[in-house]
């Protein structure tokens, strides 16, 4: 034993580095070992000890494993910054990889793979080749992972040297650890590749199912996850698979249980026998419930998964509602999830018990939890018609306790119940109105109480913004229904208040819309304002069926915790691009990355945030311009909506300009008070970026740039903060902002509109519109085999075929055109001659696996191109044609 390691952290007054250098070169082994430990200690606390590189590497040639490991640890850390010196270590690595001691062989291969220096990579191949066939399983399992490391550095090299084949051979290895690592490595390589590399055949399936029983718990997870991609041929095979996997449900490791559940759920889809399915449901229930006995962190993951599972198969846990009752000491994040599941499992049979619980929760301390419990009662009322009355009784009881936020929430909930069951429970309005006056916060004074409107209007200017909005709408409604003198006076007061005396842009905008509507066409106003509200139905936060399908296929992954499809949050960038970002990051943290900024840009999935754009709007200094004429023309209205001065209207479809190398201007300097922004979406290495150029034509430097995107069809949003340095007057700065998709999606028909807000520390917020060209979504894995193409084409109904002519386009150089299209992930499949015409077939894929099959007909060198497409998603066709047009014109 060598005394306390912490002594290595102590520093001497004398120069530390020279002293260490001396010790590293000491003739005594122990002294050298101690010195290396000191170096590592300094490294872990962030000191720069890279200058000792040569001295440390000199200690590498030792038989002492403890010392060797320390040196290797140092090497991994500094090889990147000292690539030339790292070459010095190569000889020892190669030698070590042939050492008689298997631990040293494995260590050498493991460490070499972690050193991401190109020059080292070349030397790695031979030792790796040997180690993949080593006699010792420890070496083989390390080598298997090393293939994945190498693939990450240089995929081509891995394929050229045949490492993928060796890796596949390891699936049949007799050591389960080796099999598990080979599977894990292959699965990851497959994920980052567009070609089929690791496809599970029925043969591999049976091999892996056998290995499953002997693997370590972690290996079982790797294997189960890889196998879950396997599609059984028929019900019989599915049943066989399930039978082999079911014993895993008994495992003490929660990850194994959840991965097994995923696999069983997937195969169940194929099983036709209801008996078998019922039996499986029965078998899955106890292990799922047992997950709730684990640590709260695991419980949370389990609950998020169970939430999905009960949406598909409510029977599994129909009798277990009690286990989802909240425990007193559950963390809040667990309680919230339990509530969700209780609502989903609530039925006419257990509703009394459930209501009793909710009522109890509604008197607890945590405000958010209490609010959610009250809402839960309302949702049960909407879900279970027969229980609605009991729910309302409970809500009224809660209102009587007269706790502020309970009353607020209860009234909001009752409003929805009114809409769900019209003309049934209105008799309780009187009771509600009594309670309203006891509130000291006015939030829930919703438009129920029309008759009380006038008294509320007296305090109009003092009310919070959303109450003002509700009052405004309510008054307009009242006026339209009862256009008599009283309401007319009221509305004038309100409109005047809301347009002139307010500084809230939302309120002002809405007031102006009403004003203009009322003054131009009261009948149209009626249609708009008094339109039927959509019927409230029991949502129980149900997910869209296709999304649910996708999430269920992703049980036991992060996707199932966030309830978002993987592409919405997985942003693995190739390591090469990451490195630069990495370094930028360090310098960036100091200034603009204030905590507030992090908190607000972190629209993290679990907090279901749809707010980034709203946040940006709030941040906008509200332009107080009371001078708007009431009968202003329509464009002005739009200007108001976007929150701009009427002199600074952004033309709506401005950036339709050709997409040549210079980026299209999206915010002209004349609009941006001297700031000009050019921008365009681009796709690089599988990732979508927003390429931006800021030109500063003002007199002062601009900094603190931030960006937000409004909801859009594809849910495009920034994957990280905008990183733009200070822009000096007369200069410009460009940046590539990585984007994520499906983050905050807008509803309605697909649209190419992308609304962007950009802000800096010196100017107001600028809003501009950009156009989303669909081709940035064309994914790298869009290539289809010919047979697959034909089959897909046939399987799609003719109604999904859409044709368009492009009379102005000429295809002159076929080769070049195909290359260009391929570069944009529009893949050429085949070509045939038809009379004098050439017919080309292409395939394209956009996220969520939506394919486009394209038939392009043209006469080379003659103007006129006809394109016919088939896709399961015909509503995106217009966007697709636009994108192809751009690509062909290039």
């Amino acid at each position: 034993m060598s005394g306390h390691d912490s002594k290595y952290f102590s520093t001497t007054k004398k120069g530390e580095i020279p002293e260490l250098k001396e010790e590293l070169n000491s003739q005594y082994k122990d002294k050298r070992k101690d010195a290396v430990k000191k170096v590592i200690a300094a490294m872990t606390v962030g000191k720069d000890v890279s200058s000792l590189f040569t001295d440390v590497v000199n200690c590498m040639q030792t038989e002492n494993l403890e010392l060797k490991k320390l040196v290797y640890l140092y090497l991994i850390n500094y090889a990147k910054s000292q690539p030339d010196l790292a070459i010095l270590a190569v000889n020892t690595f190669v030698k070590d990889s042939q050492d008689p001691n298997p631990l040293i062989r494995a260590l050498a291969v493991r460490t070499m793979g972690c050193i991401r220096v190109d020059k080292i990579t070349e030397y790695l191949c031979d030792p790796l080749q040997r180690c993949l066939k080593d006699d010792d399983p420890y070496v083989r399992k390390t080598a298997a992972i090393c293939v994945a490391k190498l693939y990450d550095i240089n995929a081509e090299l891995v394929e050229d040297r045949g490492f993928l084949e060796s890796l596949k051979d390891l699936i049949s290895d007799n050591n389960p650890m080796v099999v598990a690592n080979a599977v894990a490595a292959l699965a990851e390589i497959q994920e980052n590749s567009n070609r089929p590399i690791f496809e599970i055949t029925s043969h591999t399936l049976s091999k892996l199912l056998t290995a499953l029983n002997e693997c370590t718990e972690w290996g079982q997870v790797f294997i189960l996850d890889a196998l879950s991609k396997y599609k059984a041929a028929d019900a019989r095979e599915a049943e066989n698979i399930v039978e082999r996997v079911t014993p895993r449900l008994q495992h003490a490791n929660c990850a194994v249980v959840l991965s097994a559940v995923k696999m069983i759920l997937q195969q169940m889809e194929l099983i036709t026998s209801t008996d078998v399915v019922r039996n499986l449901c029965k078998k899955m229930a106890p292990p799922l419930v047992t997950l709730l006995s684990a640590e709260p962190e695991i419980q949370y993951v389990a609950l998020r998964n169970i939430n999905l599972i009960v949406q598909r198969r409510p029977t599994i846990l129909a009798h277990e509602i009690k286990v989802f009752f909240c425990k007193y000491n559950d963390p809040i994040y667990v309680k919230m999830e339990k509530l969700e599941i209780m609502i989903k499992l609530a039925s006419d049979r257990n509703i009394d018990q459930v209501l009793l619980e909710f009522k109890e929760y509604a008197t607890e301390v945590d405000v958010d939890f209490v609010r959610k419990a009250v809402r839960a009662i309302g949702r049960c009322a909407i879900k279970l018609e027969r229980a609605a009355e009991r729910c309302i009784t409970v809500l009224l009881e809660l209102i009587k306790i007269k706790v502020n936020y309970v009353v607020q929430e209860a009234i909001i909930v009752i409003k929805d119940i009114f809409r769900r069951y019209p003309n049934t429970y209105e008799s309780i309005i009187a009771t509600l109105c009594e309670s309203l006056d006891t509130l000291d916060e006015p939030e829930p004074r919703i438009d129920n109480a029309d008759e009380l409107l006038e008294s509320f209007l007296e305090s109009f200017p003092e009310e919070p913004a959303h109450v003002q909005l509700q009052l405004l709408t309510a008054t307009v409604k009242l006026f339209l229904k009862k256009p008599t003198e009283g309401p007319q006076q009221m509305i004038q007061v309100v409109l005047n208040n809301a347009t002139v005396e307010t500084d809230n842009p939302d309120l002002r905008d809405r007031a102006y819309i009403y004003w203009r509507l009322l003054s131009t066409d009261p009948e149209a106003a009626k249609d708009v304002v008094l339109a039927e509200k959509p019927v409230i139905s029991d949502d129980s936060n149900l997910l869209d069926p296709s999304l649910l399908d996708e999430l269920l296929a992703n049980i036991a992954t992060l996707s199932s915790v966030y309830h978002k499809p993987p592409e919405a949050f997985v942003t693995r960038v190739k390591t090469t691009t990451q490195k630069t970002e990495d370094e930028d990051y360090g310098s960036e943290t100091g200034n603009s990355e204030s905590p507030a900024h992090i908190a607000d840009s972190a629209a993290s999935p679990p907090t279901s945030s749809g707010a980034p754009y709203a946040a940006a709007r709030q941040a906008a200094p509200a332009p107080a311009s009371p001078a708007h004429a009431a009968a202003a023309p329509v464009p002005d209205l739009l200007g108001d909506l976007i929150g701009l001065e009427n002199s600074a209207i952004v033309p709506v479809d401005q950036p339709a300009s050709p997409a040549g190398p210079p980026l299209p201007v999206v915010l002209p300097a004349s609009t941006g008070q001297g700031l000009q922004i050019s921008a365009q979406l681009t796709r690089r290495e599988g990732q979508i970026f927003y390429s931006l150029l800021f030109e500063n034509n003002t007199q002062s430097p601009l900094d603190g740039f931030m960006i937000q995107f409004n909801k859009n069809t594809f849910g495009l949003a920034a994957a990280g903060p905008l990183q733009v340095p200070q822009v000096q007057p007369g200069t410009s700065a460009g940046t590539l902002l990585p984007m994520v998709t499906f983050q905050n999606m807008s509803q309605g028909p697909p649209s190419s509109l992308l609304q962007v807000a950009v802000k800096n520390s010196q100017q107001p917020v600028w809003y501009f519109n950009d156009k989303i060209s669909l081709h940035v979504f064309f994914t790298e894995d869009g290539r289809m085999e010919r047979a697959n193409f034909l089959e897909t084409w046939r399987s799609l109904p003719d109604s999904n075929e859409i044709t368009r002519d492009f009379p102005g386009i000429v295809v002159s150089n076929v080769e070049a055109t195909l290359d260009r299209l391929a570069a944009s992930n529009m893949f050429f499949i085949a070509k045939r001659k038809h009379a004098n015409q050439d017919v080309f077939y292409f395939s394209v894929k956009i996220p969520r696996g939506i394919p486009f099959l394209i038939e392009l007909t043209t006469v080379v060198n003659n103007p006129g191109v006809k394109i016919a497409i088939k896709t399961p998603s015909p509503e995106t066709a217009p966007l697709f044609f636009e994108a192809v047009e751009t690509l062909l014109k290039d």
Partner: protein, 451 residues
């Protein structure tokens, strides 16, 4: 696969930091800590264990006040990562004996060595202390036992009871004893966490036992072990609802809803004679986890009452009945009850001759707290509290106070009646007779009485 692993102290200091893939920016630990600390503006709400900031997914678990964190950019299995974080904590504890900031800092070289074997390129390799022993060369540096603080449920055995050797559970699995020889011993702990909710009229609304048979072996040569459980033990309640109670108090078989076993356990004879056979790996591990909703006798009954007593005054009476045998003593009992928001004062009256009891009114969150050092089986304890309210309007005092919650530990007692009938160690020689410790403990999980 994970990208980084790190351990942060409560203050957010980096104690351990290991980057396996270099694909997540270096500032991740800071971003994580800030996010967790200020999850909600008021700092009251706890961050969920999994969240995403700027495309980086963060996982964390809290172990003895330390934050064990992993990051990744991929769509990994979250239960795998969270479970892994717990296991890393356990492996480190197995090696260094006791887990805290100090012991990790003192053993940082060992911890990094462990981390390199446990995870390679973000893929878990093994978390078995037993397997790791062949690849780890650093010796642990053991903290002074005098400064040890007890950790986890098994730490409870150190309190006072002479039958159990205090330092055993915090002993490193790999380090040799100062005398040079290891003491041959094995610990089997049956730990049960019970959750009970009583209705306002004293009926049991829900009850549940989460149990673990935990083992920690210090036997050399890893001999085979047989553990025999109750012969009448059965698993699975068949069909039907979770709450069809089929047996009454104190009689009939022990019926577990569900259970699972450590991978080293062989169940060849389990169906026949309810014995588990295993070769215990080194280190602490759960042999079996079980869950039971079969009706059982709760160790404590709680009786709580709150009544108006004149203008702006009320009286609270709390009574606790210990319903376990008198040769058993429960310790560190704490009873809590939220009081109405407008409570401004509380005065307490304990029963005459009460020893080792404390009372408190927490002004900030309006909570009554009653602590008892120990309660002997069969006894009964009462607390009276007089409350004074502020003159402002107030509502229903019963609705706005409670529920009463209770925490306690009861050594050498378990509610499920699950037992280890015998613990057999395959003998190496006639004289081989290692120490065997079979210990029971019952803990309160969520023990609540509504008013």
């Amino acid at each position: 696969m994970i990208s980084q692993f790190f351990v942060l102290s409560q203050r957010g200091d980096n104690i351990v930091f290991r980057d396996y893939r270099g694909e997540v920016p270096k500032g991740s630990a800071e971003i994580f800590f800030r996010k967790v600390k200020f999850w909600k503006e008021d700092g009251q709400e706890e961050a969920p264990p999994v969240f995403n900031v700027d495309g980086v997914n963060y996982f964390h678990v809290k172990v003895v006040g330390l934050l064990f964190v992993a990051t990744t950019r991929a769509n990994v299995s979250p239960s795998l990562v969270l479970e892994l974080l717990q296991r890393i904590a356990r492996v480190i504890k197995d090696y260094v004996g006791v887990l805290n900031e100090d012991s990790i800092r003192k053993n940082f070289v060992l911890v990094y060595e462990l981390l390199d074997e446990v995870i390679d390129f973000g893929f878990v390799q093994t978390t078995s202390t037993e397997l790791l022993k062949s690849y780890i060369f650093n010796e642990p540096i053991i903290l002074d036992s005098a400064r040890l603080s007890s950790i986890g449920p098994t730490g409870l055995f150190m309190q006072g009871t002479k039958r159990m050797p205090g330092t055993a559970v915090t002993k490193s699995v790999v380090a040799s004893e100062p005398g040079g020889r290891k003491r041959e011993e094995i610990f089997v702990d049956i730990i049960e966490k019970i959750s009970v909710t009583f209705s306002s009229s004293g009926y049991i609304l829900t009850s549940e036992i989460d149990g673990t048979i935990q083992m920690k072996s210090y036997l050399t040569g890893n001999p085979e072990i047989r553990l025999a459980l109750n012969e009448d033990l059965s698993i699975g309640r068949g069909g039907g609802s979770a709450y069809d109670y089929r047996s009454s108090f104190g009689s009939g078989a022990v019926i577990l809803d569900d259970c699972n076993f450590h991978e080293s356990v062989r169940l060849d004879n389990f169906e026949v004679d309810k014995t588990l056979t295993l070769v215990p790996p080194d280190g602490e591990f759960p042999v079996m986890n079980y869950r039971m909703t079969q009706e059982f006798k709760p160790p404590f009954r709680i009786n709580a009452l709150i009544e108006e007593a004149g203008a702006l005054k009320a009286e609270v009476i709390l009574k606790i009945f210990a319903e376990f045998p008198s040769n058993i003593t429960s310790n560190t009992i704490a009873v809590q009850m939220p009081l109405p928001k407008y409570t401004i004062r509380a005065s307490f009256e304990l029963e005459p001759g009460a020893v080792g009891q404390t009372t408190d009114f927490k002004e900030a969150n309006k909570r009554l707290e009653w602590g008892l050092k120990k309660i002997v089986g069969g006894s009964e304890h009462t607390l009276r509290a007089r409350l004074t309210f502020s003159p402002e309007a107030h509502g229903n005092i019963t609705k706005e106070s409670g529920p009463v919650s209770m925490t306690f530990t009861i050594p050498m007692y378990n509610s499920s009646r699950l037992q280890v009938k015998y613990l057999q160690i395959a003998k190496k020689s006639g004289t081989y007779n290692p120490y065997r410790w079979v210990r029971y403990v019952t803990l309160a999980n969520s023990y609540v009485a509504r008013i």
